[in-house]
């Protein structure tokens, strides 16, 4: 229902950016997300960036899973 793929932002031009994943590029609309910069990894759903992915949170999640037993908020 909510297919969204992490894309790396390569360039920003006003309300549009170029997002790339494994060499595939698409124009990404930034209407729903402020403050996007080249290098950010964003989730793209039907052509719109909906959130920036947090590297720190991702690493923490993986660490938690590896350690296990804990609930994360």
């Amino acid at each position: 229902m909510c297919l969204a793929i992490p894309c790396t932002i390569e360039s920003v031009d006003g309300a549009e950016a170029i997002g790339a994943v494994a060499g595939v590029r698409r124009i990404v609309r930034l209407d729903l997300l402020q403050d996007v910069h080249p290098g950010d990894v964003v989730l793209v759903h039907s052509g719109f960036a909906i959130q920036k992915l947090s590297k720190e949170d991702a690493e923490e999640t993986i660490r938690t899973i590896a350690e296990l037993g804990e609930t994360i908020k």
């Binding site: 060499g23 595939v24 590029r25 759903h45």
Partner: protein
């Protein structure tokens, strides 16, 4: 269903059903098999493979492929899947009034070049013109004949439990290249179609390992997922494959992820699925890689049950079925 829809042309179950209901029931003869677009005929003491295909690619040129090149490579590869050396091809054109002669010349040039590359001759053909608007530019239909090599008996039916399943290259490139070239999804990539003839890879294998090669199939429309199902159905076996073993280019996978499509069902035009006696598996792989098929890989085995199904171990160790392509691949977003 009373009207032809796009799904009938997609190469999946609906295409098969259409063939069975409308054509096979009327043409019904012993040569018409489930693989409707090829036949092996005994003429005198020679086995002649005969195949035909219509090419309606849109757009007519995509990175790595053109309508002309595809019309030759596609038919040549089909002949190879019969275990035959491709020899002669016919070419018929249906053109729309107003179609530029220059472009027609380019199509012919591409066909000549492709034919030369795979050592076949275009020996006959036809042209027809329809009024403006009644055909999308130009359609090409090619038919081909070749002689089946001695000691070779290649058919989807011949896969047997224990056999090894190999693919000669990474999957989904052509389908994704065409979809992207259409421009509907706004994607830009370096992905090129894999359109090519497999004569140089397959004929030496057939000559050396002849009787050990049981099935050859090129996963065109419907992709490798459909092809594996066809083999399983025709041979009444199960194909047990490993997702981690199926070569897929990361860009092809990314494009499919973005579009919500499954690379297993995206067309290939330069890949062969080979079902081979397991004793020849490593030699066949070595031979393929030596001849330039660097991504050739074993993807699984033939087992007995469940008959007619394809079972896949996923990249994370789960197990699931791989179904036949359903309808046309439309992008899934929400």
């Amino acid at each position: 269903m009373d009207r032809i829809s796009l799904e009938h042309g997609a190469g999946g179950k609906l295409s098969h059903d259409l063939f069975t209901r409308v054509f096979a029931s009327k043409y019904g003869n012993r040569h018409l098999s489930r693989a409707a677009d090829k036949a092996v005929l005994r003429i005198g003491n020679r086995r002649i493979a005969f195949t035909t295909d219509a090419f309606i690619m849109s757009p007519r040129k995509v990175p790595g492929c053109s309508l002309g090149a595809l019309s030759i490579h596609g038919t040549v590869n089909d002949l190879l899947t019969c275990g035959a050396k491709p020899m002669y091809v016919s070419a018929s054109f249906v053109m729309e009034e107003g179609f530029p002669v220059k472009e027609l010349g380019e199509i012919a040039e591409d066909m000549a070049s492709a034919a030369k590359g795979c050592e076949v001759e275009i020996v006959t053909g036809d042209t027809k013109v329809v009024e403006r608007g009644k055909a999308d530019g130009a359609f090409v239909v090619t038919s081909g004949i070749g002689e089946v090599l001695s000691r070779v008996d290649v058919s989807g039916r011949n896969a047997r439990p224990g056999d090894s399943v190999i693919v000669t290259g990474s999957v989904g490139r052509h389908g994704v290249a065409v979809l992207i070239a259409r421009g509907e999804f706004g994607l830009a990539t370096e992905i090129k179609s894999d359109c090519s003839s497999l004569t140089g890879l397959i004929l030496p294998l057939l000559r050396k390992y002849g009787p050990m090669i049981h099935s050859l199939r090129d996963p065109t429309r419907g992709g490798i997922g459909t092809t594996l199902n066809e083999i399983a159905l025709e041979s009444k076996t199960c194909l047990r494959v490993e997702e981690a073993g199926i070569p897929i280019d990361p860009s092809v996978k990314a494009a499919c992820d973005l579009l919500g499509m499954d690379p297993l069902y995206m067309a290939c035009e330069g890949v062969m699925a080979i079902v081979v006696d397991p004793r020849a598996e490593s030699q066949v792989l070595r031979a393929l890689r030596k001849r330039g098929a660097k991504e050739a890989a074993p993807i699984g085995r033939v087992i007995s049950i469940p008959k007619g199904r394809v079972l896949m171990t996923t990249s994370v160790g789960g197990i699931r079925h791989v179904g036949m392509l359903r309808g046309v691949s439309l992008p899934r977003i929400c």
